[in-house]
């Protein structure tokens, strides 16, 4: 069984379009995250939800809107896509959000977004 799954794996779209990426975890974790990995492989946190509540909201354009319908799901909707949004987006989950060892984060396989 896949612990953290994301769909789609690849997403190619035109500038200006709106798209969504879905994430599901079956680990029973309370916390979920969205990360962006750029072309230089730098991984940066975007958002984090704990029990469906937003706890981390980094400096991300308003075009990005996360939605957590329940603890096991965290989706990412992106409006008016721009060329600079092209990256790999990773979902992750952990039990808590302390940053300590007991709250290890488990990552999904990533969604490669290409904006043309």
């Amino acid at each position: 069984d896949t612990a953290v799954s994301q769909t789609p794996k690849y997403l190619v779209t035109q500038m200006g379009n709106d798209k969504s990426i879905k994430c599901e975890q079956n680990l029973g974790h309370d916390t979920m995250y969205w990360y962006k990995q750029d072309s230089k492989k730098f991984l940066k946190i975007m958002f984090s939800y704990n029990n469906k509540e937003l706890i981390i909201n980094e400096t991300v354009p308003n075009r990005f809107s996360p939605k957590s319908p329940d603890k096991a799901h965290l989706n990412l909707h992106i409006n008016s896509l721009e060329l600079g949004d092209s990256a790999v987006y990773f979902c992750a989950s952990s039990q808590g959000f302390s940053g300590r060892a007991e709250d290890t984060q488990y990552f999904g396989p990533g969604t490669r977004l290409t904006v043309l």
Binding site: V4, K40, K41, F42, L43, K44, I45, S48, I55, I56, F90, A92, F97, S98, G99, R100, A101, D103, T104, Q105, Y106, F107, G108, P109, G110
Partner: protein
């Protein structure tokens, strides 16, 4: 702002050689994690260290957390092609809800 610098950025070695990857910061972390990421996959946790001076071994991989909990190293003995990948360190702090990831080290082990 907490930053984690990894060195080297790229490393290409022959199978059987030893190597060390470094992860440095001016900030103190309560825990330091090492991940390996393979192409087309998400990062996978290798180890977590939490105590200053702690050393953990995972087969041919040895991880060390600095005494002051500001830096860490990953040493691989007798590298194999299967060790090829992107190695990421990540620091967690009690005062923060997020992991800070390092800049990454891309390792290529040639047969």
């Amino acid at each position: 702002t907490q930053l984690l610098e990894q060195s080297p950025q790229f490393l290409s070695i022959q199978e059987g050689e030893n190597l060390t990857v470094y992860c440095n910061s001016s900030s103190v972390f309560s825990s330091l994690q090492w991940y390996r990421q393979e192409p087309g996959e998400g990062p996978v946790l290798l180890v977590t260290v939490v105590t200053g001076g702690e050393v953990k071994k995972l087969k041919r991989l040895t991880f060390q957390f600095g005494d002051a909990r500001k830096d860490s190293s990953l040493h691989i003995t007798a590298a194999q092609p299967g060790d090829t990948g992107l190695y990421l360190c990540a620091g967690g702090a009690d005062s923060s809800y997020k992991l800070i990831f390092g800049s990454g080290t891309r390792l290529l082990v040639r047969p």
